[in-house]
Amino acid sequence: MRQQHTTQEDMMADSGPKEVAVIGNTDLTSAELDNNIKNTMVEIEKGTSLLRKMEISVAEAEKRTGKNTVNMQEIYTVYLIETRPVDALTEGITPDSLWRRYSEFELLRNYLLVTYPFVVVAPLPEKRAEIVWHKLSADNMDPDFVERRRVGLENFLLRVASHPVLCNDNIFYIFLTEEKDWKEMVYETGFQAKADSRLKAVNAAFRVKNPDGRFTELKHYSDELQTVLSQLLRVRARVADRLYGVYKVHGNYGRVFSEWSAIEKEMGDGLQSAGHHMDAYAASVDDILEEEEHYADQLKEYLFYTDALRAVCRKHELTQFELEMVALDLACKKQQKEELVTGTVRTFSLKGMTSKLFGQETAEQREAKLQVLEQQLEEGEEAVKEKNTESDEFVKTAWVDIERFKDQKDRDLKEALISYAVMQISMCKKGIQVWTNAKECFNKM
């Protein structure tokens, strides 16, 4: 069985401004597909019904001016989404394209979060540049930031398009293909009404009694991951800052050597050329750190993924809580019925008190109450059944997606760490070259 391995670079789309990702392996038969259940590549295959048909890319970014909601002039960036049928790869068929703002991406994501609460939905890139190593790139209009955001948005679209469930969503498809009226369509789905209030979720998180242990574990993991990645990214940014300083100061050597060489006879040539190498050394740090930004972005994506993980856990807690509530209610009602039937009041209740004070009820009253209770019990049983099913469904589908996510995360981060090592190696090689050259120049002094 030959597998055609698609590289992580395709998935991550971080390899250049106009890189287009294609995941379109059509060699596998359905039998092979079944055989490769365990092979993580296959899970991508199953979900790529969309990507089999079309290439997606975020090709460009542009600045626009317009009036915002409070009628003030604002400058914002729009991103060009290009789509093209997969077969038309070779000829110069121009892709379909439309422009989208960051806020529209956010809207899409919110819609997906609400509509598919059991899915760990890929995060969007930062709205504002926060963890930066160089104060300059904290500006949202900075071209480097915009470029990295473009890459991040493309990555987001590819993540969604390669997700086995999300790729089939119609709203997503229209987001990619029809510029006008998309917003209206999204609102028409009424997803906003379906969204769980934050208050409800927090309440449930506190009061739920028996959440599935795996979700509790997952919640802890996502908290840990968030803490550790935040810290790692912060320290990395500081390290990068310092490294920048070290390299750039060497540029001064370049200048002083050059000036000094003017007053020396024997040493002049050696110094002059050594100076050039020092300049080259100082300049080389820009590329080195730019590459490292891509690595940081890969980590950031998983930092932001922790929010999505927590969202799924919250949803579980909520459904579990609701199940517990209806189950509790049912148990209550059952107990009430029992009390009514046997005439005993086992627990303190207002009913018990009032009956003691105002006398027992008549048989008819009791019968009526019993009828109501029976009805409620039936409804209660139904509700519990429903909630149970709902909860089970949720746990099942969520856990499938969580496993998918875990595999994806392990793969991606493994690749990221390898690419980090590669970057370090490249940096060392450059250093060796520069200083070897400088050494030769010093030798000529």
Binding site: V249, G251, N252, M267, K414, I418, G431
Partner: protein, 433 residues
């Protein structure tokens, strides 16, 4: 002795580093005016204008040859300075260093000497040498006091740095064809402590030295009229050289500072990967691997900074001091000439005993000629050793940097290799299924 960052990087460091360093951080490429702060500690020795010491050309004949001598081959005197010890008396606390001399020279009674000397003694020696040979270039001493008042004179690093500089100082003198023959030098190396004290008390008294200095100042105010072109050229060179070497000194110290700050951050970076590995299963090994790599690179970085501090920084600093020495030497030469010129003018204008004056003038003329020749000779010698010293220091730095990057490269390549073997195990599994 543990070194802390504060010991070396504190703002109380010897050389002035611009206070607003952060502003320069991002502008370094365009920074044409990387300011050269003037060293405000003029060496006390530089102002020793003892211009009229009687050193007739004849007495020079008995001294060693003036020609260049082969470095190393005919070295017959070996000196080490080590073993600093602190001494506490009722009045003061001070450090002495052991000075060990091994020599085959006939002027010395023994072939080996071991004495203890304190900084004051070195200072005295330098003064005597400059008195006796005012236009020879005496290698600088480390500073008497640290500019900007470093509190801890007895800090380990400070003592070690000073020790190395004192060691170099004595060895430079030992290498010098004329200076190494100085009687003062011999006494310095061989006399016991009390002997040295007695010896120091001889020589022209304080008041007579005062008289000399006053006259020297008077001459220098008048200025020299017909300075030979070559000395003007040397002076211009020394000005430029002084600026350049000061800049290099500052740049290098700045690099050390930045590198140390980088190291501090790097030390925190590795552990975050270890922390992360605690939360992961599949990734744990790999994350620990990365943490290990970063830690090893930390060690290499620490070594590299140490090398820079030990090798390049002291040499550049020495030559900053050298530049000041050179300026002083040129001034003294000028003064000798100025004195001669003054007397010459007096001959033309004043009504004095012409014959006596003529004799004096001839003597001064000889002095000028001798001073000029001494300086010229030593100037060539100095340039050679300057080139040699700076070349070797920069070379050593470049080599160490190459070594540093090579070591880090090996660390990451080993890690990468360990990662790349795993995927091949996976494909093996697939192929067999």
């Amino acid at each position: 002795m543990s070194r802390t960052i504060d010991d070396v990087v504190s703002p109380t460091q010897t050389n002035t580093i611009p206070a607003d360093i952060s502003g320069q951080m991002l502008d370094l490429d365009e920074d044409d005016d990387f300011e050269v702060f003037s060293k405000d500690s003029t060496l006390a020795d530089g102002s020793m204008f003892n211009a009229s010491m009687q050193t007739s050309p004849g007495s020079m004949v008995n001294q060693c040859k003036f020609e260049e001598d082969e470095d190393g081959d005919s070295k017959d005197i070996f000196i080490t300075v080590d073993n600093p010890e602190s001494h506490v008396t009722a009045i003061e606390t001070f450090i002495t260093y052991r000075v060990l001399t091994k020599t085959t020279r006939s002027e010395f009674d023994n072939s080996e000497y071991e004495v203890r000397r304190r900084y004051q003694d070195f200072h005295w020696l330098k003064g005597k040498l400059e008195e006796a040979h005012s236009t020879l270039i005496v290698h600088p001493l480390p500073e008497k006091f640290v500019v900007k008042g470093m509190v801890e004179r007895f800090n380990g690093d400070f003592i070690e740095t000073r020790r190395k500089a004192l060691h170099k100082f004595l060895n430079r003198i030992a290498d010098h064809p004329i200076l190494s023959c100085s009687e003062d030098f011999k006494v310095f190396l061989s006399a016991q402590a009390w002997e040295l004290t007695t010896y120091k008390k001889q020589g022209p008294g304080f008041l007579s030295r005062m008289g000399e200095t006053v006259r020297a100042v008077a001459n220098s105010v008048r200025g020299v009229k017909n300075r030979p072109e070559e000395f003007t050229a040397i002076q211009e060179y020394v000005e430029d050289f002084s600026n350049k070497i000061s800049s290099l000194d500052k740049v290098t110290q700045r690099i050390v500072k930045e590198q140390k700050e980088y190291l501090e951050e790097l030390k925190e970076y590795g552990p975050t990967y270890t922390l992360w590995s605690g939360s992961e299963e599949e990734l744990a090994e790999q994350l620990k691997g990365v943490a290990g790599c970063i830690e090893r690179c930390c060690q290499e970085t620490e070594e590299q900074v140490g090398h820079l501090s030990d090798t390049l920084v002291p040499v550049l600093h020495e030559y900053v001091l050298c530049a000041e020495t050179l300026k002083a030497v040129l001034r003294r030469r000028d003064n000798i000439q100025a004195e001669f010129e003054a007397k010459n003018e007096a001959l033309a204008t004043k009504k004095v005993d012409r014959d006596a004056l003529k004799v004096e003038i001839d003597k001064l003329e000889d002095r000028v000629e001798w001073a000029n020749n001494a300086l010229k000779g030593d100037w060539v010698r100095w340039q050679r050793s300057m080139r040699g010293d700076l070349k070797s220091a920069f070379l050593s730095t470049a080599e160490k940097n190459v070594d540093y990057y090579e070591k880090c490269l090996a660390v990451w390549e080993t890690f990468l290799l360990s990662q790349r073997t795993e995927p091949s195990e996976e494909t093996d599994r697939d192929n067999t299924s």
